[in-house]
């Protein structure tokens, strides 16, 4: 009785705070619109981030227990296991690769904006001191969940659970259950984001930065050691509470989230090109156009072979021999478009971009920005359609259709990276969908995992970490040795079983 009213009271007070925070934010926005660019630089105080970083040390105090009251995952232990916690070590000149890159580029990694932006946890005062950058650690809690000063205290109150995502956002906590928001968060480094300096230039790649492997949000999330539970894995009471609080943005299934992720990846890769083009139009000297890193690596970087798979694959609407934008999200994204009831012809959706790329090698900067607008409208429509889906009783039937679509796409796939994305999608589907026998599901998952090197070399928490090679190394080594004809065959599925065999095949154990 008392507990209930207390909870209501604190909830009320949190809600009041939300209103205040939102009001303050809108004033800031209005002020910015009002003064706009007309204000001479230096007159206005720099806009401060709404919240400050409190540091992971504070998070660890609670999120370390194996079975705490608030969190049912050993978050800290899982994160320590996660490669993100060590990402800053790559900035140290003690690494041979880092040293070689620094020599070739004439930089210090720990004092270079683009390196720091992805390899360390952001700080309130951007440090130029290389020692500090290495010291303030790898990607940690607040990098993804948001700077903690606003929500640190509130989120310890019981009523926090009853706030909607938007209300939590007002305290500075990002809604990572929302697949679109989460994908954008991950892809800001795993594809790149110019506005935050999270970019790898072609010069950096040429100097030795490993290529970014094709990114599939759900698999990478599991692969790094999942430190959270899905809403549908939580206790019935929590699920009920989550439903009331509007946690419905979780997405219906891993497969759905994966499809959304592929659309966002495609969009972010196009946006990266668009943003470089816009920077070039503003004549930003440090961001010359074309930046080769926005193009598909394999468009140029393929060994020449006889007979040539590249020529057999064709070029679509692109003039042969012209670089294309990133291609790896397209095959899975085509399935996502299909699921959203839209045309699967991604090349046609990108036709204005292709026309720009055809007009001269790499395309002109000034055409690129306009060419992406129409595409954005289409892809946003698809993303919204898939993000609206719920975990209802049509899930199994929808999933089955998506599995069959991915299987069909996989049987025509042309390259390793696209095949990987499709395979991950198929694995997510088969691991939860019971329309095929357990044997078939387990066999397909194992076959594709082995063939496309989908297993993360460092096994996910709670398995003990081993000294595996980094993921990009296994993928680089696997790519040339992969027989694409065999991969295509592996995507074939037998007809679904007459009687469903429900049950989840756990690719990696659910966190405790």
């Amino acid at each position: 009785m008392f507990g209930n009213s207390f909870r209501r009271a604190t909830l009320m007070s949190l809600r009041t705070q939300v209103v205040r925070l939102l009001a303050a934010a809108s004033i800031v926005c209005l002020g910015m619109v009002g003064t706009g660019r007309a204000a001479p630089p230096g007159d206005e105080p720099l806009p401060r981030p709404a919240f400050r970083y409190t540091g992971a040390d504070l998070c660890v105090k609670c999120h370390r227990s194996e079975q705490g009251e608030w969190c049912d995952v050993a978050t800290t232990a899982a994160w320590r296991h996660d490669a993100h916690s060590r990402s800053h070590l790559a900035l140290s000149s003690d690494n041979e690769r880092t040293r070689a890159m620094e020599e070739a580029l004439g930089i210090k990694a720990a004092a270079t904006a683009s390196c720091v932006a992805c390899h360390t946890h952001p700080v309130d005062e951007p440090a130029v001191d290389e020692e500090t950058n290495v010291l303030h650690g790898g990607i940690s809690c607040e990098t993804c969940h948001g700077a903690g000063s606003g929500y640190l205290d509130p989120h310890m109150q019981k009523s926090w659970r009853f706030l909607s995502s938007a209300e939590k956002e007002a305290f500075g906590m990002h809604d990572l259950r929302n697949p679109v928001a989460k994908a954008r968060n991950c892809l800001s480094c795993h594809v790149g984001e110019l506005a935050t300096d999270r970019v790898i230039t072609h010069e950096m790649y040429a100097a030795g930065h490993p290529p970014l492997p094709a990114f599939e949000m759900e698999a990478f999330g599991v692969g790094m050691g999942r430190h959270w539970k899905r809403v549908w894995e939580k206790s019935p009471q929590v699920q009920e509470q989550a439903a009331k609080a509007g946690y419905a943005t979780e997405g219906a299934s891993e497969l759905d989230r994966s499809l959304v992720g592929s659309l966002v990846a495609l969009q972010e890769s196009v946006h990266l090109a668009r943003d470089y083009a816009a920077a070039a139009e503003l004549d930003a000297k440090d961001r010359p156009w074309p930046e080769l890193a926005v193009y598909d690596c394999q468009a140029c970087h393929h060994a020449l072979a006889v007979p040539s798979w590249r020529q057999e694959a064709g070029y679509g609407q692109l003039v042969p021999g012209r670089p294309s934008l990133v291609r790896w999200p397209r095959r899975l994204a085509a399935v996502a478009f299909e699921q959203a009831g839209m045309s699967t012809d991604v090349d046609a959706l990108l036709a204005p971009v292709v026309a720009v790329l055809n007009s001269r090698p790499f395309g002109p900067a000034d055409g690129m920005r306009q060419a992406t607008d129409a595409f954005d409208e289409q892809i946003n429509h698809a993303i919204a359609a898939l993000a609206r889906r719920r975990r209802d009783d049509t899930l199994a039937a929808r999933e089955r259709v998506a599995i069959e679509q991915i299987s069909a796409a996989g049987q025509n796939v042309g390259d390793f990276e696209s095949a990987r994305l499709l395979a991950w999608g198929l694995i997510h589907g088969l691991s939860s969908n019971g329309d095929w026998s357990g044997d078939v599901r387990a066999r397909k998952i194992a076959e594709l995992t082995a063939m496309l090197a989908l297993e993360f070399p460092t096994p996910a928490y709670p398995s003990p970490p081993t000294q595996g090679k980094p993921f990009w190394q296994t993928s680089l080594a696997a790519a040339p040795a992969t027989d694409i004809a065999r991969v295509r065959a592996a995507f074939e599925l037998p007809p679904a079983a007459a009687t469903p065999a429900p049950g989840v095949i756990e690719i990696i154990p659910t966190p405790r």
Binding site: A206, P288, G314, P320, P480
Partner: protein, 449 residues
């Protein structure tokens, strides 16, 4: 410079009757009487048109939107005797591919007369006035090859074509000439010059460099005009750059990953034509020529182009294109001058001694890390050493043959440079290993008896 491309609509069949140039080969010692037979049977030029019907060509034309390859002007320009100055040729003449008239000149005016005794009394100039081309000297032969084997303003193999499936062009006249089935008697011809292989190599490289620089000039001029008019264009023209700078699988086994070193001082930027950079550097080292004040040598000319082209190679703006034009014209002048001086020499001697080549490699290490440079080095060694026995049908009648050991070593060096089976790039190539093997070749003295 380039011979008039107007060709004979009569076709090779008019030359190839049994009693003229199409006689049987067996038991016959008069090459002139079966020149057509050799061309038809052994010379790839006779199948230049035929290949346009092959699946690869059909796919290329489809990818490029050219319609049918065997009707496309872009293909026929080199693969037949059709050119833009003529009415369409009849099918039977197109089918000749690169036929007699392609090199010997339009025979409309001399076909009759050249069978008569008075032909013997006509001077070369008089013959050429009738459209006949004299091919008795190395220089005239080279200029026949270059419009197709390097390209010019009206016909080129650009990266669009290569991406669609056309092989890259990498021309070295002496080696091509050696591989080519000879359909003439060498006596009284270029072959009887004592420095035939050396002359072929040196004049060939000079003329080729001139053509390469001219093509770059044409491409840069076009791009500059298009950039000024804000039209679509194709700059950078990827075919001007090292194929394998981009075309390598990413990973530890990558072609350029060796020794952990970069091929040029700008990470991520491809080098300009390493095949021709090596040619220029080797020509200057093996057969130095004097340069006029204000004119670069061929060796510095190619390096100047690299400097103009490689930094920010992907940017197309007027300033850059102007500089590329300037350097391209510099190399045109340098190569022409070198060619003229070499041609005027009584005897061309190539210095490919190990000391000379070692000094060259040491002078600009990045330029000698390329597979292209290794092949060019091998080719000049072959030209100076008489060529390996197994290669080609040409046999010197006037020269001391290279020793068996030299030929054997050159042959092994040549084999070491072949692409691995199933690939179309030098995967696994090691410049360190090549230079070690190169030094092991027992070279004949630079000055042969």
């Amino acid at each position: 410079m380039r011979p008039d491309p107007v060709v004979n609509a009569l076709g090779a069949a008019s030359c190839g009757t049994t009693s003229c140039h199409g006689g049987p080969k067996a038991g016959n010692h008069d090459v002139q009487s079966f020149a057509f037979t050799i061309w038809m049977n052994d010379d790839p030029h006779s199948r230049a048109y035929e290949v346009l019907h092959e699946p690869r060509s059909r796919r290329m034309a489809r990818l490029l939107g050219l319609g049918e390859a065997h009707r496309a002007r872009e293909c026929l320009a080199c693969h037949s005797m059709q050119n833009e100055r003529r009415e369409p040729l009849p099918p039977e003449v197109l089918a000749d591919g690169v036929g007699c008239s392609s090199c010997h000149g339009d025979s409309t005016q001399w076909q009759q007369v050249h069978t008569l005794p008075e032909w013997k009394r006509l001077s070369i100039a008089e013959r050429e006035a009738l459209g006949y081309r004299d091919l008795g000297s190395v220089a005239t032969r080279i200029n026949n090859c270059l419009p197709c084997h390097v390209g010019d303003a009206s016909q080129e193999v650009n990266h669009d074509l290569i991406a669609a499936g056309h092989p890259r062009l990498s021309f070295e006249f002496a080696a091509y000439q050696r591989l080519w089935p000879r359909h003439w008697t060498p006596s009284g011809k270029a072959e009887s010059q004592p420095d035939f292989t050396e002359r072929s190599w040196a004049l060939g490289q000079a003329a080729t460099l001139e053509a390469v620089a001219k093509l770059l000039e044409v491409r840069a001029e076009r791009a500059a005009a298009d950039v000024a008019a804000e039209r679509p264009h194709r700059w950078p023209e990827f075919a001007e750059f090292d194929c394998y700078a981009c075309h390598k699988a990413l990973g530890p086994g990558s072609y350029t990953a060796y020794a952990g070193q970069f091929q040029n001082p700008y990470p991520g930027q491809p080098s300009w034509q390493p095949w021709y950079v090596a040619a220029g550097r080797l020509l200057e080292a093996a057969a130095p020529t004097a340069t006029a004040p204000g004119t670069p040598s061929v060796g510095t000319g190619v390096v100047d182009i690299r400097r103009a082209l490689e930094p920010d190679w992907s940017v197309a703006d007027k300033e850059r294109l102007d500089r590329v034009l300037l350097e391209a014209r510099g190399l045109v002048r340098a190569a022409r001058q070198a060619g003229q001086e070499l041609e005027s020499r009584d005897r061309i001697v190539l210095d490919v001694s190990h000391d000379r080549l070692d000094a060259l490699v040491a002078s600009a290490p990045p330029e000698w890390r390329f597979w292209d440079a290794a092949v060019q080095t091998l080719l000049v060694m072959e030209a100076a050493g008489g060529g390996p026995a197994r290669v080609g049908t040409w046999r010197s009648t006037t020269h001391q043959p290279a020793t068996v050991d030299t030929r054997q070593a050159l042959e092994e060096l040549r084999d070491s440079l072949r692409f691995p089976p199933g690939t179309d790039s030098p995967q696994g190539f090691s410049p360190v290993r090549f230079n070690r093997d190169r030094v092991a070749v027992p070279l004949p003295a630079a000055e042969r008896p």
